[in-house]
């Protein structure tokens, strides 16, 4: 149960941080339609995060609310992988971050639908439909940018070069995840990694992009060892709750 709580919190943090990053684009997107699309994905992830936080609060059973969990934990207590906290950068960076995450997220949710934990399976069932849309969107953009102009290709390649090293953490289980896998609550990550890799390879091929090889993989976010970016994100995200403790909004 402690493991499950920690894992659900990790899912919640992950969805929230990525939603937050996407929401930073709001009003500044390159095309009005894409502004809408990013807000949509952000809203989906925010909704998913809330479901997880609510469930985590319930599992913990200490009376904390979704907002307590999101707003009153410090950077080293956050459990999202490094990938999702990386800054937006240009649109190519945002797209690559999203696509790498979507490939993992979608296949994870597919599996989680069969989790013996019915609550978790229920959230996955709802979210997987949204994730299918997300991956469609980000894959299309990978293809457009890779097989677009010289500049878009250069930018998407630079984004891959800078973000690929965070993709390995997604399918590298932490002790918590290993315990849940052993107990049958979580699927084996090797299969998910393979599915994600296949999808990446297929989309990159259509985008005429090369899949990087032999990159040193960074990890740490899922055990609280984040990049310095997360702290700044949290100063904004948490400011109001920190400045006005205990108030209702």
């Amino acid at each position: 149960r402690q493991h499950l709580f920690e894992y659900v919190l990790q899912l919640a943090d992950t969805s929230l941080i990525l939603a937050h990053r996407l929401s930073e684009w709001c009003g500044h997107g390159p095309i009005l339609e894409q502004d809408l699309a990013m807000a949509n994905i952000s809203l989906d992830l925010l909704g998913e995060a809330r479901s997880y936080y609510q469930y985590a609060a319930e599992l913990e059973g200490r009376g904390r609310t979704e907002d307590d969990l999101a707003y009153l934990r410090s950077a080293v207590e956050y459990r999202n992988p490094l990938l999702v906290e990386q800054p937006n950068g240009d649109f190519a960076q945002t797209i690559v971050r999203q696509f790498l995450y979507d490939c993992f997220h979608y296949h994870l949710l597919l599996q989680l639908q069969a989790s013996p934990d019915r609550h978790l399976a229920g959230i996955a069932e709802k979210s997987v439909k949204e994730a299918a849309y997300h991956i469609k969107w980000s894959a299309e953009w990978i293809i457009r940018l890779g097989d677009g102009t010289d500049e878009s290709r250069r930018r998407v390649e630079a984004a891959i070069a800078s973000l690929w090293r965070y993709s390995g953490e997604l399918t590298t289980p932490t002790p918590t995840e290993q315990a849940l896998q052993a107990a049958g609550f979580l699927p084996d990550y090797a299969a998910i990694q393979q599915q994600a890799d296949t999808q990446v390879a297929r989309v990159f091929e259509e985008a005429t992009l090369t899949v990087p090889q032999g990159v040193f993989m960074q990890k740490g976010g899922k055990t609280g060892r984040h990049s310095e970016h997360l702290g700044y994100l949290l100063t904004e995200l948490q400011y109001m709750q920190r400045a006005y403790p205990g108030m209702k909004w």
Partner: protein, 315 residues
């Protein structure tokens, strides 16, 4: 016999007078078309620029629920922008040209968005007051003479009144909350009240286009009529919230069954219209930055579409 035939222009006006909608393929006077393009694109630009002041608090919203509602609201504004650009396109304007006019400063947008959002209470105040004023301006446009515009406005107004309720609810939560929260709400009202009154435009005496626009039924009330309506509607709501409207001269006038109220600072109004609002420069900069930094993305999308088309044709 000939003298009995109506000119095109007279026929057009007759349709309007009978409240028959003008559609894109119908004949219309050039001045009508131009006025509409200006008005609709200005409205579309306002939705676009209007995303910025509220967007400014998305990353700092005080709860997950509020964050979600606010993001959805700003997203709706982007959607309104899309409907309205499409409506203007039916009149022969191109979206790129309209945006170019926005970026060059040639086209205007609502001055209210040139004021900064400085506290969370501004999210409540904008929803409650600014969207409230927008609705008063816009509801009559659901019956405006030009079909695509009227239909876009029906969708816009429906969502706007939802936003307005959400804004009021934010204010209510603040006013029922801790003293700091109520003070935050009052401070926001103090900053936004007068700029909101300016949203209805100059006094009727200084609004020379009103008459023609009313004749064409692209405007149905004068600026001063709407301003009065707004004050009469908002003062009781402020009272309900326990907030004080920052106007010494505000007083119920039994005879006119409405409020008397102080005069807007018209010098400030014209300064902001001229581009000297507190955030005028930042707003335009944010939009042009987004546009310029997005140029390579738009080019890539076009280039890729062209490649696909070429391949499809070759196959």
């Amino acid at each position: 016999m000939e003298t009995l035939e109506l000119t095109q222009e007279e026929q057009f006006q007759a349709r309007i007078d009978e409240d028959i909608r003008i559609e894109p393929k119908d004949w219309m006077p050039e001045a009508y078309r131009k006025t509409l393009i200006r008005q609709i694109s200005q409205h579309a630009h306002s939705e676009l620029v209007g995303m910025l002041p509220e967007g400014n608090w998305i990353t700092r919203a005080p709860s997950l629920k509020r964050k979600s509602i606010l993001l959805a609201k700003v997203q709706d504004e982007a959607g309104h922008g899309l409907y309205l650009y499409s409506a203007a396109e039916t009149l022969g304007a191109s979206r790129d040209q309209m945006l170019a006019d926005l970026h060059s400063g040639k086209a205007k947008y609502s001055s209210i968005f040139n004021y900064p959002t400085l506290s969370w209470a501004d999210m409540g105040t904008i929803g409650w007051l600014v969207d409230g004023a927008a609705i008063l301006n816009q509801v009559p446009l659901c019956r405006t003479s030009y079909g695509p515009y009227a239909r876009a406005m029906v969708r816009v107004c429906k969502e706007e009144s939802f936003h307005q309720r959400q804004g009021f609810e934010i204010m209510q939560t603040l006013c029922e909350g801790a003293p700091e929260q109520k003070a935050m709400a009052q401070e926001a009202l103090n900053r936004w009240w007068w700029p909101t009154l300016m949203m209805f435009g100059p006094k009727d005496a200084d609004s020379p286009n009103t008459e023609q626009s009313m004749k064409w039924r692209i405007k149905r009330f004068t600026n001063d009529e709407l301003r009065q309506k707004f004050v009469d509607m908002m003062v009781p709501q402020a009272e309900f919230l326990g907030l004080t409207v920052p106007d010494d001269k505000l007083q119920w006038n039994e005879a006119k069954q409405g409020y008397d109220f102080g005069d807007v600072d018209w010098a400030e109004f014209w300064d902001v219209v001229k581009g000297n609002g507190p955030c005028s420069r930042e707003r335009l900069q944010a939009r042009t930055d987004a546009w310029e930094q997005g140029a390579w993305v738009r080019e890539a999308a076009l280039a890729h579409a062209a490649k696909r088309k070429q391949r499809a044709e070759a196959a």
